[in-house]
């Protein structure tokens, strides 16, 4: 696939001058909607930016649907918890789209504590010819009104407005790390470090707690929830991953509180690789169901694993993302990079998986051919419409010309968030405060 990649970049820089990276512009989540027409990003400043794909025009066949800014809005504001004297960050942790049911688009966005349902709708007509007020909105003098008229709708410039329709607050003591829309489209779940809550979209003052792993004595806390997701087709099934590298699959039909799992996925530890960092690097940072619902993919610090739901004792596939970091774990522990939470994504057909790494590298693994590629998302190394060149990290010995050595990697340039179009080979890659969109060069 690497030969076919066409690069096209959109820099998320419309809000600020992008020559210096301001913290608030750091992209914290990226998500395509169910048709791929829209792409949403959330950032550390609590903003959501939605891009829309242009309609393909027959006049310009080579411009195959670029993504342009469609809507921007402030989703979350910083808050202050007076009880604990702590700030609540406005950073958007996750965005999830709802399937489209009418002309408007709906998405969920969440920060550490509050989930919001946003409605994004277009307005391209406005009524004109009111009787009681003139075009500026000022009231007309009643004595001047001599006849009645019916207001008519006239076209106007397209306006996209985002309104918060629901605010789901005060249900999480700990930091929300995941939200997932259920396949029934009526409920969704939100997961924090120790609990998972089930919500109905219509009800904001109540939620059901379905998982609670908080120990009675916090002293005994050794494991937290790191990610959770609903099964794509079975509305009673969901999975959640933990900091100990385990995944639990739960069935909500079994009981109201799903503290007992239906399935427990864990790979036995490799004794030859054991070190003080074993547990930390086994902590799962992301879990995603395949589109088929048959597999789950998990990301831990050094690998991506694919699990078959029918086999709990080990994954069916393991891919090394950046194994050359295994010898650097102590340094990465010192500078906290070992706690970075990388996400992972499936392509539309579940044949390729993608995840990010350091130095603005991201990796793709073809599950069928077992080929993998490392690509880089950076302005210096790619021009628009240029084909992305595969990168290689040299692990020792002689470094070839185009290779980069492990010690030269920039660990501040990390790609944590990526997204794949649901049906086409279009990917969105967030590199700190820049968004890159790459497309396949077909026809």
């Amino acid at each position: 696939m690497e030969e076919d990649i066409d690069t096209r970049k959109i820099n998320n820089s419309f809000l600020r001058d992008h020559s210096y990276a301001t913290e608030a512009d750091i992209i914290s989540t990226v998500e395509f909607n169910h048709t791929g027409e829209l792409l949403a990003t959330g950032d550390k400043g609590g903003r959501v930016v939605i891009f829309q794909r242009e309609q393909e025009s027959k006049n310009q066949p080579h411009r195959r649907g670029e993504y342009n800014v469609y809507s921007t809005f402030q989703s979350h504001e910083p808050e202050f918890d007076y009880l604990k004297s702590l700030e609540i960050e406005e950073k958007i942790n996750k965005i999830r789209w709802l399937p489209q049911q009418n002309a408007a688009y709906f998405l969920l966005s969440t920060n550490d504590k509050t989930v919001k349902l946003w409605k994004v709708s277009e307005r391209d007509k406005r009524p004109e010819g009111y009787n009681l007020k003139d075009e500026d909105g000022r009231l007309r003098d009643p004595s001047m009104i001599t006849m009645l008229r019916v207001p008519v709708l006239r076209p106007m410039d397209l306006m996209v407005e985002a309104t918060p329709r629901r605010v789901f607050a005060n249900a999480h003591t700990y930091h929300i790390n995941s939200i997932s829309v259920n396949s029934d489209y009526e409920t969704y779940m939100s997961a924090d470090d120790l609990r998972i809550n089930l919500w109905n979209f219509e009800i904001t003052n109540q939620s059901f707690n379905i998982v609670d792993i908080k120990p009675a004595n916090m002293e005994e806390l050794t494991e937290v929830i790191t990610a959770a997701e609903f099964h794509p087709h079975h509305c009673n099934t969901f999975v959640y991953s933990s900091s100990k590298g385990t995944i639990r699959l739960c069935d909500m039909r079994a009981s109201a509180l799903c503290d007992r799992h239906s399935k427990f996925f864990e790979e036995p530890e490799d004794p030859s690789n054991r070190s003080f960092f074993s547990e930390i690097i086994s902590s799962i940072s992301d879990v995603k169901f395949s589109h088929s619902g048959r597999y789950i993919m998990t990301r831990d610090y050094l690998t991506v694993k694919v699990w078959d739901l029918n086999m709990e004792n080990r994954p069916i596939e393991t891919y090394q993302v950046h194994d050359y970091l295994r010898s650097k774990l102590c340094s990465l522990y010192e500078n906290d990079c070992i706690f970075d939470k990388f996400e992972c994504v499936w392509n539309g057909s579940d044949s390729v998986i993608m995840t990010g790494s350091y130095n603005n590298f991201f990796r793709m693994f073809d599950r069928n051919t077992k080929r993998d590629v490392t690509l880089e998302a950076s302005r210096e190394n790619s021009k628009p419409r240029a084909i992305l060149k595969p990168r290689k990290v040299c692990v020792g010995g002689k470094r070839r010309k185009d290779e980069i050595s492990v010690d030269s990697l920039d660990f501040s340039k990390k790609i944590l968030h990526t997204a794949w179009h649901p049906s086409e080979n279009i990917i969105a890659v967030a590199a700190t405060n820049n968004l890159y969109i790459f497309q396949d060069k077909v026809n």
Partner: protein, 264 residues
């Protein structure tokens, strides 16, 4: 300078830790990569482990004062500390320290093993006013450090409370405080056990500013010069005069005292 040395130290530790083997003693003829050349001697496994423990404790202490710390990260670091602690207990290298003299009350012993650092002058005067130095420093991006960190002193008993509340969610601070204080004490007491020579070997080429931030380390090290922490003098006579008594039986008493002290 100091930062590069600090980096070399962790690179060295990387080489050590990657093997995953225990009790391997590396001598000077061990093959070292070019970047690590210039080191006089490779620290033994125990020192490497100690260094990791110290680093972990620093991480646990340095918390974002404004925003709630990441619970997952805290749990993982605490588990690492616990893992090291367990291994050291099995080794027999985990030793509890006693107080200056056997005749003193348990309360004094508690204070002396407290994580709060005290100046030796105050100690000599017999004051029971621990001084707690806390650093408001961003724990991310620790590589580029300015030596003039912000230091503020807070008197106990606020300090242990703050430490714990920054670690875990404070749903029930009262009940958590005592237990956590106890385990922290256990952890920190082990740091008092280092002889001056090994300490100097360990820290001589390490970025001083990094360890300056660690109130526990500087409080525990004897004969180690830490330029920025004059107030955090060590207990010079304490470690040498200590006898290695059986600590386990003392723990229960210690728990009890901790709870009293912390809740006062």
């Amino acid at each position: 300078m100091g930062e590069e040395e600090g980096l070399h130290q962790t690179q060295l530790l990387d080489t050590m830790f990657v093997r995953g083997l225990k009790r391997k003693c590396f001598d000077g003829e061990e093959d070292i990569e070019g970047t690590l050349a210039g080191f006089k001697a490779i620290p033994s496994y125990n020192l490497q482990r100690q260094s990791l423990l110290d680093m972990s404790l620093v991480k646990l202490q340095l918390c974002h004062m404004l925003v709630e710390p990441n619970l997952c990260r805290s749990v993982l670091i605490a588990n690492t500390v616990r893992q090291i602690q367990e291994e050291m207990t099995q080794d027999g290298t985990w030793q509890m320290i006693n107080t200056q003299s056997a005749g003193q009350t348990s309360l004094d012993r508690l204070v002396s093993t407290d994580i709060l650092c005290r100046s030796s002058k105050e100690q000599a005067e017999g004051k029971l006013v621990p001084v707690y130095s806390t650093f408001t420093k961003d724990c991310e991006g620790t590589q580029s450090q300015d030596n003039s960190e912000i230091m503020s002193t807070v008197t106990s008993p606020q300090a242990p409370r703050n430490l714990q509340s920054n670690m875990w969610e404070m749903e029930n601070p009262q009940e958590n405080r005592g237990n956590f204080q106890k385990s922290l004490d256990q952890i920190f007491e082990t740091l008092e056990n280092k002889s001056p020579n090994t300490v100097e070997d360990l820290f001589s080429e390490v970025d001083n500013s990094y360890y300056d931030l660690d109130t526990v380390l500087t409080g525990m090290m004897s004969n180690t010069k830490m330029g920025h922490c004059d107030v955090l003098e060590t207990f010079p006579s304490q470690t040498t005069a200590n006898s290695n008594s059986n600590c386990k039986s003392d723990l229960n008493e210690l728990d009890h005292i901790v709870e009293i002290l912390v809740e006062s």
